[in-house]
Symmetry: D2
Subunit: 153 residues, 4 copies
C-alpha cells in the first residue's frame, strides 16, 4: 500500500534506479538521538546525485550544457526514525515524464529492510536566466531516446 | 491562486500566525549563490518554533508533558530563489484540525513582498514510546479550548 | 586568565567589536542536547558577518572590489556547553594587523555572562585567482586609515 | 615543513591511523563553488568516527561505559580549496598522550595527493556530570595497554 507519487502512463518506459548505502552520522541526529527531519533532503540528494552521475544528468552535466535544473517541489513522508550509527539505504528512482521535468522518487530502508522514509522531488529545466526550457536541449533528448529505446539500465 | 494545503471546515476557528524576519546567511547558499533547496525545512522550523513558543506548543512544552510531536510529512514548493544577504520573512500558520495533529503552513516572502516559497508540515502527538496519542493530553486540550473560544491571537 | 590569541603591539589602535544575540536552535544540538562542536564556525561567522557589515568588510564589499578573503586558519576552545533554547551572545573582535590579513577573535557568553566558547579566525586578502595581495586594495587602505585615525567605533 | 600539532616524547608508541575516502557534496560548497570553511569539522569527525570504530573508542563505546569525550579544542589550517565533486581523503591520526585525553590530527589530501587541509582536535574524558576523569576507566586503560604493547595496527 505504498503511496504513488507520480501517475504513470501504461506505455512509459520502466523507471531508472540506483541505491546509495549510508550510515547515520552523529551530526545528523537530534536531541532524541534520531535523524532530524530536516536532514532528509540531503539524503535524497545523495541518491539523486548518484543517479545523475550514472545517466549523465548531474549538476555538472547540466552546467556544461548551459542548463540548470532547480528543484520546484519536494515532499517527505516520515514513517520510522533512523538512529545514530544505523545503516540504511537510499533508493532513487527517476520516473518517465512526457514534459521536460525530472520526477524523482526516494525510498529509504533500514537494515531490516523496512521502509523508513519516502518522498519525491520535481525539477524543471531552465536556461541560465531562469526561463523554463520548453524545448529540451539535445543532450537531454538523446538521454530520453536511449531510455525509450530500452538502452538504459 | 495560492494552493490550499489543508482543507478547512467552515466553522473552524481562524488559524494562528506568527512571522520571523531573517536574512540569508552565507553558509545557506549554494554554488549558484542562491539558498540550497534543502535548507528550507530549517526556515520552516524557525517559524514553527516561534509559533510554538507563543502558544505553549514548543519542543520543551511537549517534553515537560511527556509528549513528542514528530514530523510525519513535509512539503516545499519553490517559486522564486533567495540570494545571499537577502532579507525575507517566514510566516508560520497553524491550522485547526479536529484530529490530534499539528498542521502548519509556511509562506516565505522577499523584501518586495513576493511569495518565494510555500510549504507545510504535519505532526502527530505521541508518547515517549512513539505510540500515537489518541486522547490528547490535558495541556493540549486546554490550548484547543482557548483557541475555539477565540482567546488566542 | 583569558588566553591571548593575537599578540598586539602597544601602539596598535583599539580593536573593533560587535555583538550578536542568538538562541540555540533545535537542529544545532546533538544527542546530548548540547550544541554539536562543529556548529561553532557558523556562530563565529554570524559575528564576523555583522562586523563586516558595520565596517564595509563584508563578503559583498570584497566581491565588489574583486577581492576574496578566504579563511586560512580557525581555532575553537570549548569551555562550557550550550543547550537547546539557551540564549547566548557572540562577540566578534577585529584586531589590528600590520600585514594584509584579518584577525578576528570570538567570545561566546551564556545568559549568566559566563564565557562558554572562544576562538579566532585568520583571513588573507587575495585576488580572484587566489594570489595573495601584497599591496592592499584602496578601499581596504581607507578603512585602515580611518581605524588608525580613531574614526571607527 | 608540516606543522607539528602535538609534541611527542621519543618513547611514545607510534600513532594510530585510518583513512576515509570522500567526494565533495553539492550542499557543502559555497557561492565560490568551494567547500565552505565551516564544513571541515564535519570531515574531521568522519575520520575520528572511523578511527573510533576501529579501536573501540566510538561515541557508543564511551556511552556504554558511562563516559563522554567532549571536544575541548579544535583547529583547522586551510591550504588549498576543495571543489564540488572533487574526491579527497581524510586521514585521522591518534597521537599517544600520557594524560587522559584524545589528541587527533587530521590531514586532507586531494586526488593529486596534495595536502589541502590539516588540523587537530583535543578531547577529555568525563563522567556524565561533565567532571573530568582523572583516573581513566578500565576499557580505556586496556586500549592503552594494547597500544603500548604494539598490538594495535
Amino acid at each position: 500500500m505504498k503511496k504513488k507519487y507520480f501517475r504513470q502512463q501504461e506505455d512509459a518506459p520502466a523507471p531508472l534506479r540506483c541505491r546509495v548505502d549510508r550510515v547515520v552520522r552523529f551530526e545528523e541526529v537530534d536531541a532524541l538521538a534520531i535523524v532530524w527531519h530536516g536532514r532528509y533532503p540531503s539524503y535524497f540528494e545523495d541518491g539523486r546525485v548518484l543517479l545523475g552521475e550514472k545517466y549523465g544528468l548531474g549538476y555538472m552535466d547540466f552546467y556544461r550544457h548551459g542548463v540548470i535544473a532547480p528543484i520546484k517541489q519536494m515532499h517527505v513522508d516520515y514513517r520510522l526514525p533512523l538512529s545514530f550509527g544505523e545503516p540504511f539505504t537510499i533508493e532513487a528512482i527517476l520516473h518517465w515524464a512526457d514534459a521536460t521535468r525530472l520526477n524523482h522518487e526516494f525510498i529509504l530502508r533500514n537494515e531490516a529492510g523496512e521502509v523508513t522514509t519516502t518522498g519525491y522531488s520535481v525539477q524543471l529545466l531552465m536556461d541560465q536566466e531562469q526561463n523554463v526550457l520548453l524545448l529540451p536541449p539535445p543532450f537531454y533528448n538523446d538521454f530520453r531516446q536511449r531510455w525509450l529505446a530500452g538502452e538504459l539500465v
